[in-house]
Structure formats: C-alpha cells, structure tokens
C-alpha cells in the first residue's frame, strides 16, 4: 500500500424509530494517520462505525473509499473491532483467527501464516492451541485485536480498542496500530479516554449528540482552540506585567504570570518588556488540553 487509501464519511444520517442518532455526519480518515474518534457515551461513535462497516445501513449519506461508494465486498478490506467484544468461546485461538481470515478471502496457507505472526507479535504465541474461553480477559482482548488484523486489512476501524487493556498491552497494541498506519492504512479508533487519544492520534474527530463538532489534526485543533492566554516565567519579579496595557492577569506569583490579552501583538509587547527587564526563563502560549477542547466544542 502506498498510503493513498482515503476513507470519507459524507452526510451520514441515521435514526432508530423516532430517535435521530446521527445527523449529517461528515469527516475523513486520511491514509497513514491515526484518527481519534471522540465523544461521550451515546454520542453516535458506535453507530457511525457500524455504518462504515455496513453492519448498519444509513438513512442518508454515503461512505466512500478512494472516492467511490463502498460496496459490500469492499468491507472485506476493513479490519473491524466492534465495541462489544466477542469470539467463539470454544474455538482454539489460532483456528479462530484462521477461520476469520478465510472468511475475508485469504487462502489457507496465508491465513495460517498471518495468524501465527500476529499471535507472536501480540505475545500470544504459546496460547495458539488453547480455546478462547480459557484465556484471561486481557489475553482475550489481544486475541480480539488479532481478529481485526489477521486478514491484512487496508483500513482499520476500531471501537474502543484500548478499553480493558493493561498498560503493557496498550503499548503492544499501539505499536501494531502505528505500524499499520506507517504502512499507509487509514486508522480510525474511538475512545473516551481522552489522555490516550491525545497521546496517540494524528487527527481528531469530535462527535456529540450525533453531529460532528470538530475535525482536524491534533495540532491544528489546538491552535484553533487556543485563546490568547500566555504564560511568562522570569528570573526576577514580574509584578510589572499588571501595569501593561490590555493585559488581564489570571495567575500571578513572583516570577510567574499567566495572563490573557486581546490579540497576539499585545503578548509580544509583554515579551519585549520582559526581555528588557531581565532574563526570561520561558514564554509560551497556553495550549488547551484535549479535554478542554472537547468540553468547549461539545457545548
């Protein structure tokens, strides 16, 4: 894959009975990037993912892959991890993976090879012959991830892939996802653990009440949602900042000041003043955390 596969969700709406669950949902999942899909419980993440996978139908709108509407057969190119985890409890782990790979169209030999490789990567190599039900919960999670990847999918859609994983497993899974993205696959994953999303994802899609509230790269969104709040740390006393024009102080203690200004030039004026007054330890624009952006956009 040369990193050209683009997944587009265009104007998707869906209601269950009287309840409108998705309204005109539009966003892209770009190739080679980890896209975090963020929203509260019941915001519509799972419904959107199910529609992408064709498990649910949309009332309106389309899902495009490389600019063309998805057909049922294209879904075999997707790796999907549903929110509700599940494998056949009585099947052996390796056998189960081979079965799923073959349902996706892989030849028996390739299916076997992929299953073995993945189990090794995920640290389950020695459990290949055990039944799924005999695995611990954490290992079942890993097997579930293997199930989403075993057919070499070109697009990954993972619903809460990190929930229920211990920190080591999170790293293992993350490495696997990153290598898939590095190979050019668009990767969409949902999470309500904002700290994980903040650390991992390249792009963000924020959904609330069934409609998209924000999309874009992580840095771009941060820039967009940064106010004109700055933080200044100087060696001496910074009391003079209070007397600067247009500045309103948020926090102040000795050489440390946090302040708001109406526009960037006002902040630059403060910086110039600080340099002329003495050594400046740091001066930066305050970047909002993802949690802050999230709170802001879902209101």
């Amino acid at each position: 894959m040369e990193g050209t596969t683009l997944l587009e969700v265009r104007g998707v709406s869906r209601s269950f009975g009287e309840r409108q669950v998705l309204t005109d949902v539009t966003f892209d999942v770009r190739p080679g990037r980890l896209t975090g899909f963020v929203g509260g419980n019941g915001a519509g993440k799972t419904t959107t993912m199910r529609i992408i996978l064709g498990v649910l139908s949309a009332d309106a709108g389309t899902v495009l892959l490389d600019g063309e509407a998805l057909e049922p057969d294209d879904r075999r190119r997707f790796g999907y991890m549903p929110e509700e985890r599940g494998l056949y409890p009585k099947m052996k782990v390796a056998e189960h993976l081979v079965y799923l790979a073959r349902l996706h169209g892989l030849a028996p030999a390739a299916a076997k090879r992929n299953a073995d490789d993945l189990l090794d990567q995920l640290g389950l190599g020695d459990r290949a012959g055990d039944t799924v039900e005999s695995l611990s919960l954490g290992n079942q999670q890993r097997a579930q991830i293997a199930a989403a990847l075993v057919h070499d999918p070109e697009v990954l859609v993972l619903d809460e892939p990190f929930s229920g994983l211990d920190p080591i497993a999170v790293e293992t899974v993350l490495n696997v996802l990153k290598s898939r993205a590095a190979a050019g696959a668009p990767v969409l994953f949902s999470s309500h653990q904002l700290d994980i999303v903040e650390r991992l994802c390249d792009d963000l899609v924020v959904i609330a009440d069934g409609s998209i509230r924000a999309t874009g790269s992580r840095e771009g969104l941060r820039d967009e949602h940064s106010g004109q709040r700055y933080e200044l740390v100087v060696a001496g006393d910074a009391g003079w900042v209070r007397d600067m024009p247009h500045v309103s102080i948020v926090e102040f203690s000795g050489g440390h000041a946090v302040f708001d200004v109406p526009s960037p030039p006002d902040a630059q004026a403060v910086l110039r003043e600080a340099i002329s007054a003495g050594p400046v330890t740091s001066f930066q624009r305050r970047q909002p955390s993802l949690a802050q952006i999230f709170r802001e956009v879902i209101q």
């Binding site: 199910r50 498990v55 997707f78 349902l103 490789d117 070499d152 190979a183």
Partner: protein, 376 residues
C-alpha cells in the same frame, strides 16, 4: 506487520481475491460441523440414538423368533407321519398321557398323538379347551385360495413404521433445530456476530448454518437408516426391509427438504433473543410444529384421510407421505406433488427467515418483536 505484503492500493487491485458465495457458505457450514463433531455431548447422544435403534431391531427379532411359535407336544411314534412341523415349537414325548399332561399344565398349546382307530389320518390333535387352529390348519388339506383385494400392510408393522418415521423426524428436528438455535444465540450472546456481519452477509451466514446443521442431521438420519438396514439384514428380517425400504428412501428425500425448512425457522426464531435463557420461549412454537406430525402419525396411521392431509402439509409431509407410500395409499404422482409443495414452502420460509434473521441479529438486549424484525 513485518511479513505483510500489500498489493498496490489502486481501487481494483485488491489483494483479497473475490470470495464466491458458495465458499463462504462452505466455510461457515464447515465450522458448524467441526464444532458439533468436537462436542462430546453430540457424539454421545448420537451413539445412544444408534444403540436404541439397533436394540429395538434385535429385540424385535428375538421376540418374533420365539413368542410367535405355537408350542406343540408330539408323540414320538407319529412324527414321521406328520407334514413339515418346523413352524412350531416342538416337544417330543413317548406316551399319550405325557402329551395330555403337558397340555393340561399349559406347557404347550396343543398335542399330537397316534390314533389309528378313529382318525383316517392316524392322529388326534389334543387341546385344552379348544383345538389350536394353527395346528389343525397345518395338518389339514387346504383348498387353493385367490384374494381379490389384498389386505393392507400388517397393522402392527404399519404402527412400527409410523413410529419409526415419526420418531426419527421428531428427534432429528428437535436435536438439530435446537442446535442451530443455540448456535445463533451463541453468536449473538458472544457478539461475534458483529464481526461476522462486517465480513459476510447475514444471508450467507444463515445459509452456512442451515447447510452445516442439515448435513449433520441428514448424516445422522442416513447413519440410522444404515444401522437399521444392516440390523434387519443380520437378524434375518429381510422381508421387513423389502417392505419398508422404498418408503424409507422417500422419507430421506422428504426429510432433507423438511429439515432445511425447520432449520430456517429455528434460526429465525432464535435470532430474536440474545441469551440462551430466553431461547425456550421463542422456539417453542417451532417445536410444536415438529411435535404435531409426530403424534398425528402415531394416532392416525390407520386413518387414510388424516394421512392424506398430513402428506400435503409441508411440516408433516416428511412423515405423512412416506407413510402413505408404505401403506400403498398414494398414487405415483402424489409424492412428487407433495415434494414440490414442500420445496416451494422451504424457499418461502428461507426468504422470510433470512429477513427476520438479518434484521434481528444486531438488536441485543430485550427480545425483538417478530413484527419489528419483519419490518426491518
């Protein structure tokens, strides 16, 4: 993944080759069969069923070999004067008094002693309160007999055959019907169904499950038929086999269609619930449909009208039509017409069943209403 080799990601050069529907069905069916063959309870119940069939044949052979023969005490001096008496259970004694004693004690049904004075045959048949008709007939000269309207099958054999068809249909349908129902709910309960549906269509999944379980049910029925045939041959009941054989062959054909119809109904019913505990309530209407023909054929196997109706209703045709063929009541075209009706109903039920199944599969939690599942 380091070993992954991706094909160039142009839209139509997918590295996954197109997967034909038949192969999907084969994969799903294969998993169903393997899962069942690995289950100890399935293997044990099949073994027990075969043992019951074999045992009933052996018991039947032993009973008919011993119980039916009339017991006769014969005075040794007349034995050479008698015609072939091999159809009787014979006891040879020397004195007339010994014969009389055996008859009085009820040890034998009749006695044959020498009496050249009264009888032109030179023998006398002794009975306790009446002469044994079998013995008298055997010793008499019978006129030529021509029967214009041959009687139907022996009613007792007819009853046994009805019981056999009814029982095999009933047991197989219930066993494999519940198996497919449980397997549908297992997929819902464990949520694997969402992964499956993101990969293959609900129709193909349903088709694979029905095919897999039908193959098992059909295989088990064939195995029973085989064991029964071998049992009948080995125990020398070739006559029974000759009489039942053609009807049994029809039964197997009808069963194949009938089971697919029931399997689709079991699967559709099961897809309405998400937990094994709720399964009983939704499949009981289907179970009733299976039980009705079973009881009907046992109670009405001597009632041509009821059998004729049964032989055309799709749910009971697999039992009713072979029964009529066995009794010789059906015209040659009747099984073909009934089979056509059954096949059409099967297709119809599969289409409706697939609709319910597709619509209900992803609705977990409370039981899905049938009307909602039909509407989608």
């Amino acid at each position: 993944m380091s070993t992954t080799i991706f094909a160039p990601a142009t839209r139509h050069s997918n590295h996954l080759p197109k997967l034909p529907a038949s192969q999907v069905v084969r994969l799903v069916a294969g998993r169903e069969v393997t899962a069942r063959l690995r289950s100890k309870s399935f293997l044990i119940s099949t073994g027990v069923l075969l043992l019951i069939v074999l045992a009933s044949i052996v018991v039947g052979a032993v009973a008919s070999a011993n119980a039916d023969l009339t017991k006769v005490a014969i005075q040794r001096s007349v034995i050479n004067a008698l015609p072939d008496m091999s159809g009787f259970d014979q006891t040879l004694v020397d004195e007339v008094s010994e014969v009389e004693e055996l008859v009085r004690e009820g040890e034998v049904d009749a006695g044959i002693v020498s009496n050249s004075e009264v009888s032109p045959l030179g023998i006398t048949v002794i009975g306790l309160d009446a002469a044994s008709a079998d013995v008298v007939a055997q010793l008499s000269v019978a006129p030529d007999v021509r029967i214009l309207e041959p009687a139907e099958q022996d009613p007792f054999l007819a009853y046994l055959v009805a019981l056999g068809f009814g029982l095999v249909f009933f047991l197989s349908s219930i066993t494999f019907g519940s198996t497919i129902a449980q397997s549908v709910v297992e997929e819902k309960q464990t949520r694997i169904v969402e992964i499956l549906l993101a990969t293959i269509s609900a129709r193909l999944l349903l088709a694979g499950k029905v095919v897999g379980n039908s193959v098992l049910a059909f295989g088990q029925t064939l195995l029973i038929a085989l064991v029964a045939s071998i049992g009948l041959l080995v125990t020398g009941q070739n006559v029974v086999l000759g009489q039942v054989g053609p009807a049994a062959a029809w039964f197997v054909v009808f069963f194949a269609f009938g089971f697919v119809l029931l399997a689709a109904m079991f699967a559709a019913a099961a897809s309405l619930v998400s937990r094994q505990e709720d399964l009983g309530a939704v499949i009981s209407p289907v179970t009733t449909l299976v039980m009705v023909p079973y009881f009907a054929v046992i109670f009405f196997n001597d009632n041509p009208t009821v059998l004729a109706i049964m032989s055309y209703i799709p749910f009971s045709a697999p039992v009713g039509m072979p029964m009529r063929l066995f009794l010789g009541d059906a015209q040659w075209w009747e099984p073909l017409l009934s089979l056509a009706l059954l096949a059409v109903s099967t297709v119809f039920v599969i289409v409706i069943g697939a609709r319910i199944y597709s619509n209900a599969l992803l609705r977990t939690g409370t039981r899905v209403k049938l009307a909602d599942a039909l509407r989608g």
